[in-house]
């Protein structure tokens, strides 16, 4: 016969023991919960589960197989290099002797590229201003020849000549800053404003090469008709070159 106090004592004992277990389990659960949240924050702080490279956590701790964002090895050179870029800066280029193709070297090259392209911009503006002045004095000189104002023509010829030489120098320096600059990090196969800029560059570069040749031929010629023809050609090419240069700069604004 079981007495009531004994029964109550057993129920109490059972209850205490059970709740002790439940409490222990509750504490353990809390620990697990904290652990799970900590795992997230640790992963995001460490950024190291996928590689040594700085990267966002690629998986959740319970996701052991999938890599969501595998850090890509940075591509150091674009696929489509120009001829100059290949010869100078390609993986086997001339400059690779003292600037090996490494991430660190490429970072320095990109800084150098930015400096060169910024200089290219500044010199471009200077060239446009100088070329405009050169064209204006060239037109004044032609007007002097047409009007037989030889004294003024002599003076303006010297000014035009000086301006043209300086223009040629700044133009070639501007071109060199762009042509010899290290290649960019990416270059996709597409037609963009820079492609148009380069198309115009073919025109104004041809003009800049032709101008001194035409000028020298006109100076050296003894045939009056030929001189007139050469001066006319020099005038047209001058305007054409100025227009192509201005257009090349304008395309970059779109």
């Amino acid at each position: 016969m079981i007495r009531l106090p004994s029964c109550l004592a057993y129920v109490l004992l059972f209850s205490v023991l059970s709740h002790t277990g439940a409490y222990a389990q509750f504490k353990r659960s809390l620990t697990v919960q904290v652990f799970v949240s900590e795992s997230f924050s640790l992963l995001s702080k460490d950024r190291s589960p996928c590689s040594d490279a700085p990267s966002f956590p690629c998986t959740h701790p319970d996701d052991s197989t999938e890599t969501v964002l595998s850090p890509r090895a940075p591509k150091l050179l674009p696929d489509n290099l120009t001829i100059f870029e290949s010869v100078l800066w390609g993986s086997g280029g001339l400059f690779r002797g003292f600037s090996p193709l490494t991430s660190e070297a490429r970072r320095r090259e990109l800084d150098f590229r930015r400096t060169m392209l910024s200089t290219h911009q500044v010199l471009g503006f200077a060239t446009l201003a100088l070329m405009s002045a050169s064209v204006i004095f060239g037109q004044i000189l032609l007007n002097d020849y047409e009007a037989f104002r030889f004294e003024e023509a002599l003076r303006n010829r010297q000014t035009h000549r000086t301006l043209s030489i300086i223009t040629f120098g700044t133009y070639m320096s501007t071109a060199a800053m762009s042509t010899f600059a290290p290649p960019p990090l990416i270059r996709r196969d597409e037609w963009n404003t820079v492609s148009t800029h380069k198309l115009f560059a073919i025109f104004h570069f041809s003009g800049m090469v032709a101008q001194p040749i035409l000028a020298i031929m006109a100076s050296n010629s003894r045939d009056l008709e030929q001189i007139r023809t050469l001066r006319r050609a020099h005038q047209i090419v001058g305007y054409f070159t100025l227009a192509a240069l201005a257009a090349a700069m304008l395309t970059l604004t779109f």
């Binding site: 057993y10 059970s18 389990q25 799970v36 959740h60 964002l69 970072r107 960019p184």
Partner: protein, 191 residues
């Protein structure tokens, strides 16, 4: 004898409770998480220059959210994007952007939320944005909606290029505005 039986039953009870809890805890304590659907999610940035505005986007990025148990409340979000994947339609411009953000040194931009306030479909997200090697706290508003079996989250925010130590790119010697607008539309497949 009776005492021993009760003790034995109590111990059995404890173990059964613990086993039951173990089975539940794996689903209860790890929050349900969803990953962005690639190709349907887009991350964009906008830059403004006195001559024209630039917009670049990527659809190749990682984004993951945690949902509260039993509801569709977003409790945390993290994303990471490779800066070289942004395309403005002009690779010369993108190459210039990669130079100013020093992509070889800092190839990723990432965000980790610290708090999210859910108010119906409106979200107020606070967290840490890492960009160009600089980590800053930001907060922004977003909206969520359910379209079919997908959860779509949209939002935008503005950051300062100067604050993230990014040298503002220049065109024709005029620098772009300091404000970089970031917008996103992220689609998640609901379980």
């Amino acid at each position: 004898m009776m005492t021993l039986t009760v003790v034995f039953l109590s111990i059995l009870n404890i173990y059964s409770y613990m086993f039951h809890q173990r089975a539940v805890e794996s689903t209860f304590f790890v929050l349900p998480k969803l990953r962005a659907i690639k190709g349907e999610s887009v991350l964009k940035y906008y830059l403004s220059h006195p001559l024209h505005a630039t917009e670049a986007q990527t659809k190749d990025f990682f984004c993951e959210i945690d949902l509260a148990e039993g509801t569709q409340e977003i409790v945390s979000v993290r994303f990471a994007a490779d800066v070289t994947t942004f395309d403005s339609g002009n690779s010369s411009r993108d190459a210039h952007a990669l130079e100013v953000v020093e992509a070889l040194l800092y190839p990723e931009v990432s965000f980790q939320s610290s708090a999210i306030e859910n108010s119906n479909d409106e979200l107020r997200v606070s967290g840490v944005l890492s960009f160009h090697g600089v980590t800053k706290n930001i907060s922004f508003s977003a909206k969520k909606k359910i379209v079919g079996s997908k959860l779509i989250v949209e939002g935008d925010t503005n950051i300062s290029l100067t604050e993230f130590k990014v040298e503002r790119p220049a065109l024709l010697m005029i620098r772009v505005n300091d404000t970089l607008r970031i917008s996103f539309t992220v689609a998640f497949a609901l379980p």
